[in-house]
Amino acid sequence: MLAYNLLDDGPDIVLAAGLRSPWVRAGSAFRYEDAGHLGARVARELIARSGIDPAEIDEVIAGCVGPPHDQANIGRVIALRAGVPQAVPARTVARNCASGIEAVTSAVANIRAGFGTTYLTLGVEVMSAYPLIMGHRLTGFFERLMKARSLGARLKGIASFRPSMLKPRVALLEGLTDPVSGLIMGKTAELVARDFGLTREQCDGFALRSHERALAAQERGRFQAEILPHLPQRARKSAGAVDADDGPRSDQSMERLGRLKPYFDKPDGVVTVGNACGITDGAAALLVTTAERCAELGLKPMARLRSFAWSGCDPARMGLGPVYSSALALDAAGCRLDDIGTVEINEAFAAQVLGCARAFESASWAERHLNRSHAVGELDLARTNVNGGAIALGHPVGATGARLLLTAAHELEVGDHELALATLCIGGGQGGAVVLERVA
């Protein structure tokens, strides 16, 4: 368990500016997009709009779960492609779904350690580009062929081919499976649903509300300030730039959701593709710096960081991670859940968010798992994900954390709140949480 209290001595740290690409369903408009290209586009635009000299950046940190195989340190690729000078270092961090927040908290820890003042952080994920992988058997077949020198050996090698060797391993599915518990993420949500007795109707109801809120937010133009329109690579001549998230469905209804079959646990499960987050492409960038530097740069800060926390939990119930980490972050920030004006919690699965809500308000759960006598507090769903969440918008895993912070920071201003909480569950059994504060 780690919690960092930023109220203590040390420079105030702010999110000075932020921007993101539209969140686009994998395999659609961003099908041929490249994570380095997309990330750099957003980073470049953030630098241009904020008017900072890129040489003033101390380091670039990118969060990414599955960087393309030719861009292992995608942070560096993005930095250089965004026009950040070669002398500025860059790295890539990963904490599964929280990678986008990890980039920010890494920057914060560095700044607090006296290690630079100005960080360009990103979360980026192009899940469309996740590959199919050749299995061991096919790899072995090619190896034999390459090693064969004589004609006989070559023929023997060719003869060893079996059609079943062509069955690929799907990087996306393997990536979404926790190797320790052996469970794919959807199954961990099923466990949470069973623990708390959550019904299919409850889950579908939550999912429907996510779509309704996201659509309403789009109609209000709520996302305009945070989204950078982007013309995807290899876009058709007739297709224009994408300037809105394409996940929210105006035709979503309980009836339609009800028709879907359980995806992970047939036939009795509650998790369907309708009440789970989508597979998505997107990138978001945030400029993290001290309040002092922010003023020097002539920027109006979006939000001040008050605390953050990371904690571990049962990998088989990773969905409850937000409760663990939020409890710590709230304590560190010196406030209670009631004080929080707006909450952004990642909607990996409706069952998982609803499970968190139950755990937040349960004293017995707190006693058993958090070793405290009272409940963390009541998660008011009316003040949670007011603009919809990942079920409607999508969940580009490495990028989502950055969006939660960006959306929460904007919401402080839009909804006139003092405090905001951004939190998410993390595959492998962790939770992350950040408390943001409005800058007067």
């Binding site: 290209h37 586009r41 635009e45 241009a48 965004a82 013309l231 690579q233 001549k237 730039a241």
Partner: protein, 728 residues
């Protein structure tokens, strides 16, 4: 043989100073071309003289290997001494020089031991021909390396062995292509085509060349094999290849350029004739071509364009900035073209337009262009990504604060342009140049109300930006000289040729084209056939006839331009109104599919003359004009206006004006430009012809009368003193 008649440069050094013979190991001689009077060696009189002496020294001694190298790996030599050749007028002198060089190169070829050329950097023309005389060629694998035979572009041909040594080396088809396109090939491509035998890093160039010279390494050369017999040395095949090449050249040049045709003949016979005979033919051709008018004209244009490319460079106390970040306002055809061009040439560019579809179109166009270059291997994959990253779109006019220059290409309205510049000035640094791509507004007026107006300048590109090589750099009344020079340097970086002009209506090119196009319209109204006039002007050497050009420009744009010229210059520019009945919103030229010509929608289909043109003709006087008279009316109207431009100091001089006519209007390069053409006629003749036109009935009857053809003061003065524009 003697090297007589080849003029020595003024600062030519003592004999022996241009070539150093080094002996880094026993039995190896390295000839280093390092003339003290040049930063990059040129095959001029002193260097050839010293090379002759050095070869003589080697002939008298023994060595196992010889390397011929430049002063540095990426500085070999830059061809023959163009300035000297330009100044030679006697064919016999040129013939003698060619014989001397051929003899010298033949002796290099015959030297004992292996002779290796170690080349790198630009290796054009004569420098490459020297390499061809060696047994092996090693080239530095570097982006600066460019190898080829560009002679035909200058109205001559590869006359120092290129026409017969190259086809022997790489075969007839490749040699023909290299000689006729005059392209300078990058190292990799040169290796692939067989122009060179081996590539290596610049750092290893000398070592590898020495290894080859000493026999420690033998590069494999792709043998032509049976192709050599069946293609290169087979008269039937050679004639067929020559015939095809001749057809292509004719289609492109209408036979106005003798050099490529001569080059085809000599190259086709190259592999079949003896070295001595081929050398003699090349010498004869050079002697004739280099002293002919076309070569002189092309060399003069080449000289002025090289000079234009130096604008703003090598000036004491002034260093133009390196442009890395630029902004473009307006995502139309011009703005998009400019932005894409900047991005391709290494400048990170941000383009603004309010309309998202316009921005999408800009990106599509840019990406398409980058993809094409990637496919043609003009760019590597990594370079193509950088080129893509360098162009960003913005739907709002912010984020330009880091720009070093912002070029606006928004609507042609003074208030709009003034307001965007004033808005922008609040955002950008005080030293950010504000350039306008206006074609019809005054740069001085645009600068009004802009803080620090000395940084406001005109940067007039032509459509399509990708293809048109000229940029008019317009100095407003308040524009700082340094700003004009920096913008000129940026134009050069963009691969364009800049001409600095004063801020007068129409600037230079459109001011000259105005009377020309107006005259064409008048001829049409008076009964001339557009097709016939266009053909006449194509024969004259224009790339496009005036009516086809009007369709390209757009009838509405042309009208707008001639109206503003009229306002500025008064009665001599009163526009012809006869076209009004023909002009309608769906008949504005190419963009609407119909003007003087009808443009079919299908790709690659050719345009045809509109069938109803006769309905809009009201006179018949033009039908009585001879072809010469028609050409005179069109061309001399430009000459007359050009003369006024010189009087008013619109450009620095006649050289710059000619450059602008060739690069901006495509004016026949073989004439050397508009004023060279006028000089060829002679001022007296020009004045007489102008007076003749002015006196003709139909001209006198026009509104504005014969003002247009009243000879300009400078022309009259020249005629009186028997001077030309270039001999004044």
């Amino acid at each position: 043989m003697e090297l007589q008649g080849f003029p020595l440069p003024e600062d030519s050094p003592e004999p022996g100073a241009c070539i150093r013979i080094e002996r880094p190991e026993p039995d190896l001689a390295v000839l280093v071309l390092a003339p003290p009077h040049r930063s990059l060696a040129v095959l001029d009189a002193p260097l050839l003289r010293d090379l002759d002496a050095a070869v003589a020294e080697l002939e008298n001694g023994y060595q196992k290997g010889v390397v011929i190298a430049g002063a540095e790996p990426l500085k070999f030599a830059a061809g023959a001494d163009i300035d000297a050749i330009e100044s030679i007028t006697a064919p016999a002198d040129l013939k003698r020089i060619c014989d001397f060089v051929h003899d010298l190169f033949l002796r290099i070829d015959k030297l004992s031991g292996r002779v290796v050329a170690a080349i790198g950097g630009p290796v054009p023309g004569g420098a490459f021909e020297l390499s061809l005389a060696c047994d092996y060629i090693v080239a530095a694998d570097h982006p600066k390396t460019r190898i080829g035979l560009p002679e035909t572009m200058l109205g001559i041909l590869p006359g120092w062995g290129g026409c017969h040594r190259l086809p022997r080396r790489v075969g007839l088809p490749t040699a023909m292509q290299a000689i006729l396109t005059g392209r300078l090939y990058p190292a990799r491509q040169a290796k692939k085509m067989g122009l060179v035998d081996r590539l290596t890093h610049p750092e290893y160039l000398l070592r590898v060349a020495s290894d080859i010279a000493m026999g420690r390494e033998t590069p494999r050369r792709k043998a032509r094999g049976w192709k050599g017999m069946l293609v290169d040395r087979n008269p039937l095949m050679a004639n067929l290849i020559a015939k095809k090449a001749r057809e292509t050249v004719y289609r492109k040049t209408r036979g106005k350029y003798p050099a490529p045709l001569r080059a085809i003949d000599i190259t086709a016979e190259g592999p079949r004739t003896s070295m001595q005979q081929a050398a003699r033919k090349e010498g004869d051709a050079i002697a004739e071509l280099a002293t002919g008018p076309v070569c002189k004209a092309l060399l003069s244009i080449f000289g002025s364009s090289e000079e234009a490319k130096k604008l703003g460079r090598d000036l004491e106390g002034f260093e133009p900035r390196t442009f890395r970040r630029a902004g473009v306002l307006g995502g139309g055809v011009m703005g998009g073209g400019i932005a894409s061009n900047l991005a391709l040439k290494g400048v990170a560019t941000r383009i603004f337009d309010l309309a998202p579809p316009a921005l999408d179109a800009v990106l599509h166009e840019h990406r398409g262009d980058v993809a094409k270059r990637l496919k043609r291997r003009r760019l590597t994959k990594a370079e193509s990504l950088q080129a893509l990253d360098r162009l960003d779109c913005s739907r709002s006019m912010d984020g330009f604060s880091g720009s070093q220059i912002v070029i606006e290409a928004v609507a042609e309205r003074l208030d709009v342009k003034q307001s965007v510049f004033q808005q922008l000035a609040r955002q950008v640094g005080s030293d950010c140049i504000l350039a306008s791509n206006t074609s019809s507004l005054s740069v001085t007026s645009i600068a009004e109300g802009v803080p620090r107006p000395e940084r406001v300048v005109g940067m007039h590109f032509f459509n399509p930006v990708k293809k048109m090589p000229l940029v008019e750099v317009v100095r407003g009344e308040q524009t700082a000289h340094e700003v004009a020079l920096e913008v000129a340097a940026l134009a050069v970086k963009m691969g364009k040729t800049p001409v600095i002009v004063r801020d007068v209506a129409g600037f230079l090119v459109n001011r000259l084209l105005g009377p020309y196009l107006d005259e064409a319209v008048r001829l049409f109204i008076d009964g001339a056939q557009p097709k016939q006039v266009d053909e006449l002007m194509l024969d004259f050497g224009m790339p496009m006839g005036p009516f086809r050009l009007l369709d390209e420009v757009g009838l509405d744009i042309a009208e707008h331009a001639s109206e503003s010229l009229h306002q500025a210059y008064g009665e001599r520019m009163i526009p012809c109104t006869g076209l009004e009945p023909m002009r309608s919103p769906d008949r504005l030229g190419r963009k609407t599919g119909k003007g003087f010509y009808v443009f079919p929608k299908e790709r690659k289909a050719r345009e045809s003359v509109a069938p109803d043109l006769a309905d809009y003709q009201s006179g018949s006087s033009a039908r009585r004009l001879s072809d010469e008279q028609i050409v005179d009316r069109l061309v001399l109207s430009m000459v007359n206006e050009a003369s006024r431009c010189l009087e008013e100091d619109v450009v620095a001089g006649a050289k710059e004006l000619d450059l602008a006519t060739v690069f901006g209007t495509g004016f026949a390069p073989f004439h050397g430009g508009l004023l060279h053409y006028a000089d060829k006629l002679g001022a007296t003749e020009v004045v007489a012809r102008l007076e003749g036109i002015a006196a003709s009935e139909d001209v006198a009857a026009r509104p504005g009368g014969s003002a247009k053809f009243e000879p300009a003061a400078l022309l009259r003065e020249n005629a009186r003193r028997n001077l030309g524009f270039f001999s004044a």
